[in-house]
């Protein structure tokens, strides 16, 4: 968990990346899929923002909207995405293309399927450099070898000509990172970069992303469903549920003073080593909502244990606003702020905090 307290995110248009009221809808035969429905956040250079949520909560769709990868598909996008002063949603495909890879880059979940099986690792990385820089192939190769060395691949000059199937999982993800960072992008989006890797490699990859963030002073969006990764890496966190942001704040807010019942659920279902051995993980009952028939009222109401704390049936009829409860900490919930604090302290924290009998 980051110990250095950071200033609250600047709530103004001067942020390096500013997403405002983003909607991404996909028309399908079954109806309109509202993958992202009114998402807003800011991010400055040098910061790492974690986007957390279950599968289908709209995390990846958001990142691909920022990269402009929905252009040419049937997706209907509205809202604004300001990136270094430029508006991205209305930008042309050609403008987005020149930004992609150069100013903003992306790392994907499964490095094996994300690399082309028929081209060598080195050529694929060099391609990313060549498309944005007018240099000779020799210089691109030199730069690629440097990059491979930076991300910690031994014998980079030899491994340049290897194919993806000759790399191990962790090495492939390192290569993907090299590809993403070769043009020194100002924004790096890592979409579940460690999900397909084993635990020891996970830590190395996260460490690498953090180092490079410091070196290049890039903004990083880390998409994950693993709260452990968030705690280790991020400065700010956005919790997404059903295509909406349900809670956002500093990483310490989220872990020590969470207020949204969904965040409580996530924390309760996270395995922790410092918890008693006998403690069972508490799953969130039910399953994520349909994004076609988004529930009325609060998107989380059908799975929420605390709807009885709200007067009347507001939880099922009225959508709660995302309201600030502390500087830089916003929550989407009908339960009054004071009562949420009490519930967390009295009911939630005892169940998820370390118990007396620590594992020996």
């Amino acid at each position: 968990m980051t110990s250095t307290p950071l200033a609250a995110p600047v709530e103004s248009a001067t942020a390096f990346l500013s997403v405002r009221d983003l909607h991404v809808h996909f028309p399908t035969d079954d109806g309109l899929v509202k993958s992202v429905d009114g998402l807003s956040f800011e991010l400055d250079r040098g910061e790492i923002l974690g986007i957390v949520g279950e599968s289908g909560s709209g995390k990846s769709v958001t990142s691909q909207a920022i990269m402009g990868l929905h252009k040419g598909s049937r997706a209907k996008i509205s809202g604004t995405i300001q990136f270094g002063g430029r508006e991205l949603i209305s930008a042309s495909e050609e403008d987005m293309r020149s930004l992609r890879g150069a100013e903003m880059a992306m790392i994907f979940q499964d490095p094996l399927s994300s690399l082309h099986p028929f081209y060598s690792i080195g050529d694929q990385i060099a391609e990313a450099y060549l498309v944005h820089n007018h240099v000779s192939k020799r210089d691109a190769r030199k730069r690629t070898v440097e990059m491979l060395e930076t991300v910690g691949i031994p014998n980079p000059d030899k491994r340049y000509d290897d194919y993806p199937h000759q790399f191990s999982g962790g090495m492939r993800q390192r290569a993907m990172i090299a590809m993403a960072l070769i043009c020194e992008p100002k924004l790096l989006i890592a979409d579940e970069p460690t999900t397909a890797l084993d635990v020891t490699v996970q830590a190395q990859i996260l460490e690498l992303i953090k180092e490079l963030r410091t070196e290049l002073n890039s903004a990083v969006i880390l998409i994950t469903h693993d709260l452990g990764v968030v705690a280790e890496t991020c400065d700010h966190v956005v919790v997404m549920y059903g295509g909406q942001c349900v809670e956002k704040g500093l990483v310490d807010d989220l872990f020590y003073k969470p207020e949204m019942p969904y965040t409580w659920g996530l924390l309760g279902s996270m395995p922790r080593l410092d918890r008693g051995r006998q403690t069972r993980l508490t799953p969130i009952p039910g399953s994520p909502p349909s994004l076609i028939n988004v529930p009325s009222g609060c998107v989380f109401h059908s799975r929420c244990r605390f709807t009885d704390r709200v007067e009347g049936d507001r939880c099922t009829t009225e959508r709660p606003e995302l309201l600030p409860c502390a500087p830089g900490h916003e929550v989407r919930c009908h339960i009054p702020h004071a009562e949420r604090e009490i519930i967390f302290l009295e009911e939630i924290r005892p169940a998820i905090e370390p118990t007396e009998e620590l594992p020996t």
Binding site: L69, R97, R100, S114, H116, E127, V131
Partner: protein, 335 residues
């Protein structure tokens, strides 16, 4: 790589050996097992009943009285060493290796017949194959890039129509239009490409189109479905995330992957087609291997049937070996 090729070649030789065994068993032993004399299928329906001295003498001359394994060894020996063939009256004819025997029906060496017919079939197949490959892949790719668009629908309905139209319909139709109505071609005869390239082209252009039309339709559908699958792969998203332009993404990253399985089918199709373009050859009056095989079957000309079968098998095996080697070059995961 060399090891890979060596293994494939040894495999191919083994297959050819089995083919020679099966061919021998089916055609040379078949008549014997069904209690007719192979002589009848060798030199014609001689008026000697089975068991007569004259027939026995003939059987002796062709070696049909030898034990089976010895007959097979003789057959293989002739294939690799050659032989002198004699009917006992005229001067012996030297049949150099590979010797498939003598066609008494056509009064020519089987190898002469094959050498005359093979270039026709090969020209027909290779030319048509290039046409259908280029045409089919182009239509398929365009269709896949905008699935559901008007271009896609025209391409796919067109290819459905093309698959459904048999050559004995499209062939005469094209002859009617281009030869008899428009008079663009006047009864072209096959000539060797080396002696008259223009004449060669004229004689083959219509059969190429007909044959290619049929196959292009299959390849268009295949390319389309492969391409649709590949374009939704993660590595295409990576290519786009790198900032590559659409053309590079589609051709360098998409088509490259989508075409790999098509190479396999392409090789096998050409190999199979070389001995089996009977309908096209018949419609356009070309004397290729297909025509030769049908002709020899209807006239019960055993040595020619065996010869054509072996040549067709060799074509298929060779094209498969080429595909395997090519595949190991295209796909770094193989070999």
């Amino acid at each position: 790589m060399i090891r890979f090729i060596a293994i494939r070649l040894i495999g191919a030789l083994a297959v050819l050996w089995v083919v020679s065994l099966v061919t021998f068993a089916l055609f040379q032993l078949g008549p014997e097992l069904s209690h007719t004399s192979p002589v009848y299928y060798y030199i014609g329906r001689v008026p000697f009943p089975k068991g007569s001295t004259q027939l026995k003498l003939l059987e002796h001359r062709f070696g049909f009285d030898l034990p089976v394994w010895q007959q097979y060894l003789e057959y293989m020996k002739h294939l690799f060493v050659g032989q002198n063939i004699t009917d006992g009256v005229s001067d012996p004819v030297h049949c150099s290796a590979p010797c498939f025997g003598y066609s008494f029906r056509q009064n020519e060496l089987v190898s002469t017949l094959l050498v005359r017919a093979a270039p026709v079939s090969i020209s027909l197949c290779i030319g048509a194959a290039l046409m259908w490959l280029v045409g089919g892949v182009t239509v398929g790719t365009i269709s896949a890039l905008r699935p559901g668009s008007i271009g896609d629908r025209i391409g796919m309905i067109g290819s459905l129509a093309a698959v459904s139209l048999p050559i004995f319909f499209t062939g005469p139709l094209m002859l009617l239009v281009f030869e008899y109505k428009l008079k663009l071609l006047t009864d072209p005869q096959y000539v060797s490409v080396f002696s008259d390239p223009v004449g060669w082209l004229k004689s083959l252009i219509l059969p190429w189109i007909c044959l290619a039309f049929l196959f292009a339709a299959l390849y268009a559908r295949l390319t389309r479905s492969n391409m649709l699958e590949v374009m939704s792969e993660d590595y295409i998203r990576t290519a786009r995330a790198k900032g590559l332009d659409r053309r590079t993404v589609v051709i360098k990253h998409g088509l490259r992957a989508a075409l790999t399985p098509i190479v396999t089918i392409f090789g096998i199709d050409i190999g199979t087609l070389i001995g089996s373009t009977v309908i096209t050859e018949t419609v356009f009056n070309l004397r290729g291997l297909g025509y030769l095989s049908i002709h020899s079957i209807t006239t019960q000309d055993l040595p020619v049937i065996m010869g054509v079968t072996l040549v067709a098998a060799v074509a298929l095996v060779v094209s498969n070996v080429i595909v395997d080697i090519l595949y190991s070059v295209i796909d770094p995961r193989v070999g």
